[in-house]
């Protein structure tokens, strides 16, 4: 079985102080730690598990500049047979339709039976990469999958719904499956493992041939800014002990629970 996985390299913003670049539309990425998109870590693990189970080969794809190669090395370290990176300067700040066109371009004429993507990227959260790639390839897609099993030329998936429900769906291959977190336990990769993967080659494709002129190009990010602040919390200040005493008082008086 020919399997592909698409991974994106994203800034880890959970604890970072974010600054908007001078253009007013993009994030100042310098100085931020970057990592593989959380959803893609689960997609990668699933791809490796499926390859181990049904056999075949796994290609990891990334649309990004050289700095993003670290995420591809992680793919090689956990079991991808080949890694492909496509980039062109014209793609910097690309919208999800342009990224999908690049994803389509990177796949080329190779016919993959199964392509895994993340359900969304943690920075912009469009959730469009998988379905748009499937449409560009003219194949099936299913979004938000938290369980899957390949059965011959079909794959049986569970799509996650709201409130603890799911739906089981049978999909014919070839297909693009967009993976939700929690589907598996992504394996731990040591720094050493990633270093070793440095010896494996990464194919670099020039994105100059990718046609970015679709209707989707009409999606333009106009501005990026801090969100308007609501009333916000009343902050309790002081040493942990002082803060704990204030909390205790609040729980008794306003909370009425002690």
């Amino acid at each position: 079985m020919k399997i592909a996985v698409f991974v994106k390299h994203v800034p880890d913003v959970a604890e970072a102080d974010l600054e908007v670049a001078a253009d007013g539309r993009t994030l100042k990425g310098a100085g931020l730690p970057f990592e593989m998109n959380e959803w893609d870590r689960f997609a990668l693990e699933e791809a490796v598990l499926i390859k181990d189970e049904v056999g075949g080969d796994l290609t990891a794809f990334l649309i990004g500049d050289e700095a993003a190669e670290e995420s591809l090395r992680r793919c090689l370290a956990v079991g991808a047979d080949r890694a492909v990176r496509l980039w062109d300067e014209a793609l910097s700040g690309a919208n999800p339709f342009e990224i999908a066109a690049a994803m389509r371009g990177a796949v080329g004429d190779d016919n993959y039976d199964l392509i895994l993507c993340g359900a969304q990227s943690s920075d912009y959260g469009y959730g469009m990469g998988g379905p748009l790639l499937a449409e560009a390839l003219g194949i099936n897609s299913v979004a938000l999958v938290n369980k899957m099993k390949v059965e011959g030329s079909k794959v049986l998936v569970t799509r996650e719904l709201e409130g603890g429900w799911g739906e089981e769906v049978e999909v014919n291959l070839p297909a693009v499956i967009s993976i939700q977190t929690g589907i598996n336990e992504p394996r731990y990769v040591s720094i050493l493992g990633i270093k070793k993967a440095r010896k494996k080659p990464i194919d670099v494709l020039d994105g100059a041939g990718v046609d970015l002129s679709s209707e989707g190009g009409k999606l333009v990010v106009e501005s990026l800014q801090a969100p308007p602040l609501g009333e916000g919390a009343e902050f309790l200040e002081g040493s942990p002990e002082e803060v704990a005493e204030r909390c205790l008082a609040l729980l008794k008086e306003a909370g009425g629970v002690l």
Binding site: E135, L161, G182, A233, V243
Partner: protein
């Protein structure tokens, strides 16, 4: 200008978000909303009755392929309706939900038109749709413009409507129509799957001590358990904690977990992503501990503590124990 709203329903009932969509749609086109209901045979009329008065017109398609949700069938049906319409819609609105995350980008691909997902606000300026999105884990906001396109698609974050859903109150005309879909969709609904009920029902607790990724390790859950025990509280958590198998799924607060409304919700190391916040923001008192002063959780918390949960939580545990004697 015409705006179409794709009604979301499950098991014969409209989902709450449908009313929000109708209100968003009405605001965009001054009332001329077309509600689109795609349903299984015999299901449509009852659903259409539920939106009577909230749209100018309802386009109703009943087809066996719509008896259960099938994103491919839905996208194909919407594409054929939109392309064949006498007055094609300027905008097609749907929910940013499990269903919308599947059909909306697929429809954008089929219609080759721009789409924006997970918008929290929409406005129409001249010929362009402008959408506001919340990005980077809730820390920034971006404005997206879809200009110069014949048709655009937008999905809206449930719960983002600020006022009560308001929509035109008119008699809604119902137009039954059909679409021809390929007999083989390559995708088949098999069954609904329901999460097995666990032993603990977090939605019944008066006090929740809730942990997020900031807890860093399974062993550290002890810190929350100690506080919960002192308070007589129940431990709950955000999704990554369940994804990493540090706590069972029944403890998860959020759109894909449980909705909770305790007297007190103590959030330890939770950033406050909308999928979490939307399911706990109605708690009577929210106290958040986070080392990042810009964490979005502080926007919905009543009291905030900027600090290390590993210092604050044990101090609170000690204070509660001392007070209880």
């Amino acid at each position: 200008m015409s705006v179409w709203v794709v009604c979301e329903h499950r098991n014969g009932a409209l989902r709450e978000v449908t009313y929000e969509l109708l209100a968003h749609g009405a605001a965009l086109c001054m009332g001329a909303v077309t509600a689109v209901i795609l349903a299984g045979p015999g299901e449509g009329e009852a659903l259409a009755a539920l939106i009577n008065g909230k749209a100018e017109r309802t386009l109703l398609v009943e087809d066996p392929s719509m008896s259960a949700f099938n994103g491919t069938a839905q996208a194909l049906a919407l594409a054929s309706l939109a392309e064949g319409a006498q007055e094609p819609p300027k905008a097609i609105l749907g929910a940013h939900s499990a269903a919308g995350m599947d059909w909306a980008p697929t429809l954008a691909g089929k219609l080759s038109c721009p789409a924006v997902t997970d918008a929290v606000a929409l406005s129409m300026e001249g010929d362009s749709l402008t959408a506001t999105r919340v990005v980077y884990g809730g820390k920034l906001q971006s404005k997206i413009k879809l200009g110069g396109a014949k048709m655009v698609i937008a999905t809206i974050r449930p719960g983002s409507l600020e006022d009560e859903p308001k929509a035109a109150s008119v008699e809604t005309s119902i137009e039954a129509t059909s679409v021809s879909l390929p007999s083989e969709l390559g995708k088949r609904f098999i069954a609904w799957v329901e999460e097995a009920a666990g032993d603990v029902d977090i939605s019944q607790a008066d006090i929740l001590v809730s942990v997020g990724r900031g807890i860093q390790d399974k062993e550290n859950i002890d810190v929350a358990e100690a506080l919960a025990e002192a308070l007589g509280a129940t431990v709950s958590c955000s999704r990554p904690v369940v994804d990493m198998n540090w706590l069972p799924k029944e403890r998860q607060v959020g759109i894909s977990g449980k909705t909770v409304k305790p007297k007190v919700y103590i959030a330890l190391g939770i950033s406050g992503a909308f999928q979490h916040a939307t399911a706990m923001k109605d708690s009577a008192m929210i106290i958040a501990v986070n080392k990042d002063p810009k964490a979005p959780i502080f926007q919905i918390a009543h009291y905030g503590i900027v600090g290390d949960l590993f210092k604050v939580a044990p101090a609170l545990t000690a204070a509660v124990r001392a007070a209880k004697g």
